[in-house]
Symmetry: C2
Subunit: 449 residues, 2 copies
């Protein structure tokens, strides 16, 4: 009986375990996790910290019992310290000490860690990163401890935006400090500014174009200073300025790395060492539009890559189809979603992009409750190919699944004019005879000439 050892119990690791079990009901599967929370939805942490989720246990995609009933063994609170690829051993530390686990196939899903800026004060009490369950508990304990009335969030990305929403809902006065000129810089500036306006509408103070330089402890709180004279005190500081792959274990074992230092894998999620696979936030991601590697740590991708790694580790044969960078985020009453490339990214990849900005209603405006959608379609002038889409609209206007129509079209390298051929659903309370995505496509075709 072959033995698959999986290092890491988050999205990639558990997806690998579940798929390996489906493919091979007889193999032994052991997942080594550094904490006691395997298969937790860490994307849900902001909604626990906001108070919207009463019990953190509901964040588990599956319980330990669920996993064990699938015949997946778990070694909790054990850290993998070293891999010996020649002897096919993983050295783990935890519980009663150190021991070596033998494997036939190894899947590395060590994930990413929050980027920790190199400024004074990052280790002060009241200054937090947010990635794992333990981070979440630390923030929650701190906020529950006594009068916490204000927070500074450093970084206006996805987590920063969701935490601005969450901490406002929890009753804190929130300031977001962002290095660039607007927030949510994975979207075009004009959309980022609409998101900033939404933050303002909900009482969030947004400071852009500001680099953080130091955090100091003052009277039970923190004081942050930065560029352009920025100087503000708050009861807590959350720093969310990105993620980087956790690769030390892999590198020390002789595994090669690639783009942004992430573990290099092929389409079968194999590393350069035989019988060792890797998946999720610790690996490079094949981008489907450019057929080249990028670094795009996302839960959706980790699930898909983990599934591929698990299938191959169980002697299946499956390739990862590639990412389009499809993402969605809810910020107060807005939803922003994107797939594929923005104009600048497309130009950087050698396309001849044109981006059209189109505004319409999510459904026939005569029916009550219509909401504005802003759709930015990017296509290639030379070939007429769709390259990307960004949509911003109100919650309830099917923004995210409209972007998914575009993602499915991108997957097939559709031309803009072909999108107008798609037979999409319509009823006046939910859409128009031409879906807003198709109206945006038609506008692109008119304007791109």
């Amino acid at each position: 009986m072959s033995r698959i050892v999986i290092i890491g119990g988050s999205d990639a690791g558990i997806s690998a375990a579940l798929r390996a079990r489906e493919i091979d009901p007889s193999c032994e599967i052991l997942v080594v996790t550094a904490d006691a929370y395997p298969n937790f939805s860490i994307c849900g942490l902001p909604f626990y910290l906001s108070g919207e989720i009463a019990d953190w246990r509901t964040l588990a995609h599956r319980t330990l019992a669920d996993l064990e009933s699938e015949g997946i063994q778990l070694l909790l609170n054990h850290r993998a310290e070293a891999v010996d690829p020649d002897r096919k051993l993983v050295r783990v530390v935890g519980g009663t000490g150190t021991r070596d686990l033998n494997y036939d196939k190894l899947v590395i899903g060590t994930g990413a860690e929050s980027v920790k800026p190199d400024i004074p004060g990052m280790d002060l009490p009241g200054v937090f990163l947010l990635r794992w369950m333990d981070d979440c508990f630390a923030v929650n304990d701190y906020l529950s401890a006594s009068q916490r009335r204000s927070a500074i969030i450093v970084g206006g990305g996805y987590i920063g935006m969701e935490m601005a929403d969450a901490l406002t809902l929890r009753g804190l006065a929130v300031t977001v400090v962002e290095f660039f000129d607007t927030v949510l810089t994975t979207f075009d500036d004009v959309l980022g500014r609409e998101v900033a306006a939404e933050l303002h509408r909900h009482g969030v103070n947004v400071v852009t174009g500001t680099a953080i330089e130091a955090i100091r402890r003052v009277d039970e709180g923190q004081r942050i200073s930065g560029s352009a004279g920025f100087d503000l005190r708050a009861d807590m500081v959350l720093v969310s300025v990105g993620a980087k792959p956790c690769v030390d274990l892999a590198v020390n074992a002789g595994i090669s790395t690639g783009f942004k230092g992430a573990i290099q894998v092929n389409s079968r999620m194999q590393t350069n060492l035989s019988d060792i696979y890797a998946a999720g936030d610790c690996v490079v991601t094949r981008h489907r539009l450019i057929h080249d590697d990028v670094y795009l740590p996302l839960g959706t991708t980790a699930h898909k890559q983990g599934r591929v790694a698990g299938e191959n580790a169980a002697d299946g044969d499956r390739e990862y189809a590639g990412s389009l960078g499809t993402q969605a985020v809810k910020i107060f009453d807005l939803v922003a979603a994107r797939t594929g490339f923005r104009d600048d990214e497309a130009a950087g990849a050698g396309f001849d992009p044109f981006t059209d900005d189109f505004e319409t209603w999510d459904h026939k405006v005569y029916y009550p409750g219509a909401q504005k959608l802003r759709i930015r379609m990017t296509g290639d002038r030379r070939t007429g190919r769709l390259l990307g889409a960004q949509i911003l609209g109100g919650k309830g206007s099917e923004v995210s699944k409209r972007v998914d129509i575009c993602a499915t079209a991108l997957f097939h390298e559709m031309k803009m004019e072909e999108l107008a051929d798609l037979d999409l659903s319509y009823t006046p309370p939910l859409s128009s005879p031409w879906d807003p995505v198709q109206m945006a496509v038609q506008a692109w075709m008119r304007n791109a000439r």
Copy 2:
């Protein structure tokens, strides 16, 4: 300067006119319409009759002035009586009498009419069909006239369901009478029964398995009798038992018809007569899954076919890509949407179908407001191809655009396992790391073996 005459001012005709104008800014475009309401959203009639839309004028996709500003001439309240394909003339009747219009290219968009069952009493006052604006005004006037407290709707299809919702909202006691064993028979029975339960929850009386035999006038109302002793009185009766193509004009001109008597067109929307195109509810529809003609009168299809006809009439070159029968309907708090084939339809078309019934939440259940989705995926056992999808869920759970992901996948003849490769968007308030559609696909793959 070439002259394009278009007969019919609804979805197909106006789409043809607008596209012809885009393609050829110089041509003359004349649209002949039988009523005074060109380019109205007749799909919106139930929402006017419900009282949700205060002003019927808002049902116009575009105003007359909008259309005229595009250089589209309109001849309202004129009925096309005959086409002479040899002399390239259309005889129209209206206004001051009869006259002949010459054309270089002709587009026929005469639409469909409601099927009128051959039973006594169909012409009684208080008995209505519902298709055009005049039908709508007649129903509205009747309901506004005096105490109208009850309605019987004959036919449990899309219009019947929307009108059950609408008239309930307007305060009437509604009974739906359906010939088959459940309502919304374009969906699988199990979903139709869920829709019937939704109707019951909102106080609608649902009578199935009953054929209507006669309508009689009784004390300011109507009494309907039917099979199995059905006998019920109501203040009004709405009969919505389907649509059939309006083809007399075309047939008399020598134009060939095909499936269900609809006008036969090729992929360029050409009829058998040169320089005569046809589009919309009066023509056959090419089904993309079987590469053969069906009859599927839908607004979305009429827009697309009209656009193709208009482009070709203006000397462009475009083919209609085919329909997948994608449809959505909101019934009280439920949305039902479908694309492609059901199991029985797929079997009839020679596939080896398997349909899996899958239930999950529209988003991570830990986040408030999660709603159940019921997803029925149909695929081909032999090839693993997706053949169709039906989704039922609460309003606000992105049912219709999730079906559109499937419609886009079907357009590309994707295999089930490939749908799991799609890079779809995720954030806990809106989806799961595997979108519910992908979870349903994975369940199909497990169960179809």
